[in-house]
């Protein structure tokens, strides 16, 4: 598996702000985990195949989420847009097995 195939997909609705996606990407990059940005429906993200089993969603309703292939139903993490950087960071930390930096409020 080459490095090109290891990444976390960031799936966003059409209304997602650039700034939010940039902050998520920054969180991922600081932790050293590659990503790819794709526009698509952000429903049932847990069912999407992902090389790292983790999918990030940027939703029109102002939230960002991390879904995990093995956790069906609700996303494993869900924050508001303003915690985008932290969400990216935590998605990476989930992959790396490190403690998450939980925000004081969602």
């Amino acid at each position: 598996m080459s490095s090109k195939e290891i990444f976390i997909p960031i799936i966003h609705d059409a209304g997602a702000q650039y700034e939010v996606i940039r902050e998520i990407s920054a969180g991922l990059e600081e932790e050293g985990v590659p990503y790819r940005v794709l526009q698509r429906t952000t429903r049932n993200l847990g069912d999407l195949p992902s090389p790292l089993q983790v999918v990030i969603g940027v939703h029109d309703n102002g939230t960002v989420s991390v879904s995990h292939e093995k956790v069906k139903g609700t996303p494993y993490l869900e924050y508001s847009w303003k915690h985008a950087r932290r969400l990216g960071k935590n998605a990476a930390r989930l992959v790396k097995g490190l403690p998450l930096h939980l925000p004081e409020r969602g």
């Binding site: 920054a26 600081e30 932790e31 995990h68 093995k70 956790v71 930390r93 097995g97 998450l100 939980l102």
Partner: protein, 613 residues
Amino acid sequence: MGKRIVAGVDIGNSSTEVAIAIIEGGQMQFLAQHLVKTTGVKGTVENVRGIRFALQEAAGKAGLTVSQIDLIRLNDAVPVIGDLAMDLISETIITESSMIGHNPDSPGGAGLGVGTTIGIEQLLDMDTARTDDAYIVVIGKGFDFEWAAGRINLAMSRGASVTGAIVQKDDGVLIHNRLQHKIPIVDEVSLIEKVPLNKKAAVEVALPGHVIRTLSNPYGLSTVFSLTPDETIQIAPVAKALVGNRSAVVIRTAQGEVVERKIEAGRMILIGTQNRLEVSVNDGADAIMDAYERLGSVTDVQGETGTNVGGMLSGLRQDLAELTGQTPGEISISDFLAVDAVIPSSISGSMAGELAMESGVALASMVKTDKSSIHRVARSLEQELGIAIEVGGVEAEMAIRGALTTPGTRKPIVILDMGGGSTDAAMMDASGNITSTHLAGAGDMVTMLINSELALGDKELAEKIKKNPLGKVLSLFHMQLEDGTMLFSEAPFPPHTFGRVVIRGEDGLTPLPTRVSMEKIREIRRSAKRRVFVTNVLRALKRIVPTRNVKHLSFVVMVGGSALDFEIPQMVTEELGKYGIVAGFANIRGTEGPRNAVATGLVLSSIKNGGAT
């Protein structure tokens, strides 16, 4: 001689325990037992509430009501009370900002950079002609990583030499990834406004899993800053403070100084029956306990006034006075235990919230009090229940009688009652004579040490750590246990436990709010137990064994709450095994484990003592 129902009630500092038996035709059969938290201070009428509740529960288990009990026997508890205190004996102070040594999760790059500190906003203003100057850029949280990286690239393209960066936000890798020429970057420096500009600085970042080697070496610092021997001597404590870090920044300020100050912790004055000894607290717990051993026994302990230990001991005296209703002047300390403690405290003057592992001393002490009386409790209980109450023999004797119901034991025997506030020991020799002693320091001191050494600030949590094994959540579905085994979960672990060390208690997983590793926490937990209980067990044995040679003992039986611990009894078993002593926790009546010794002894002695015959 009909059938009689007898209850034994043991009021301890922490727990009140009850045993109920039926005696018929000289035969005794135990029916039930129960334990509750002691209500109020031991030996005061507030205890009655707890006793009544414990009796109700035990009677219920035996299919009886409390009123069917014919006789209640109370233990004549020794009126000793203990307290705990802890204080620093060293302290690291930085006057003038000059050092940042921390371990951000994601610093940028690797290597060593030396230069003059400059704000990122000034980077393009400087005189780029002076190309032999090197710079360390300081980047506050107001600046975006793209912009900052762009600035550095531009400056470098104009011929400036930028050799390192200090960043406030968690942007180290982001900036690093955008640089044309790579430099080491220390990020997450929270108090960046304290970083002085226009000073010579060095930034060092080691590869993952390695530690820095230059800034933690005094001669590395002297090479980097071209220091004279005298300046090297001055800066050496900085090197020492940086040992073991993955990344660090050292900034030379003219007045900059790092002082590792030995606090004048003061002297303890140990007063014996014949003479007195003084010992400096700075010499550590071993020296203090050695002095104590030389003195033999104490009638009181004082601390040099105006020093840390003076304050600590007068605080103890105050606490104990309040607990016993005496005046501080009446309090005299009858025993104490000093143990070395590591106290993480924040370095004053640090720039990234760094902690220094300072050394300190923890002290448990114990006083005799005449203000508590079991007889008052007995009268009050008798009034309330209308049942005959008898104050039984000495606590030590009752405990031994109870302990002797453990299979495989016989006289001569020693019991160790390992409770919350004190470690009590008693010995019964071959002819039945009993000697006993009460030592300061037990389960509560272990909890205090854990609480302090992990900087938890949460006694409940420390108590929980003490009592349960740990795990570390490695992924959504796996946890590693202390012994290396993996547990496989069907439901994903919740986010607040992910990647964390957790306590595996009966009520589920409790994540710990610390970055300390599972192994280190385990080590602290075990070492706290060893420092308190192994030390006290040896002290106790020396006191009650006439020859003071513990090798002459054969049976040692542990009872009390701390004998329930999942590792303390094994530590004592191992330690005493070295002397060929058979030590283990009790199995009262072959079924109760280390609990209920005194209550059982109280019931048993009702026969001999004529209570039931």
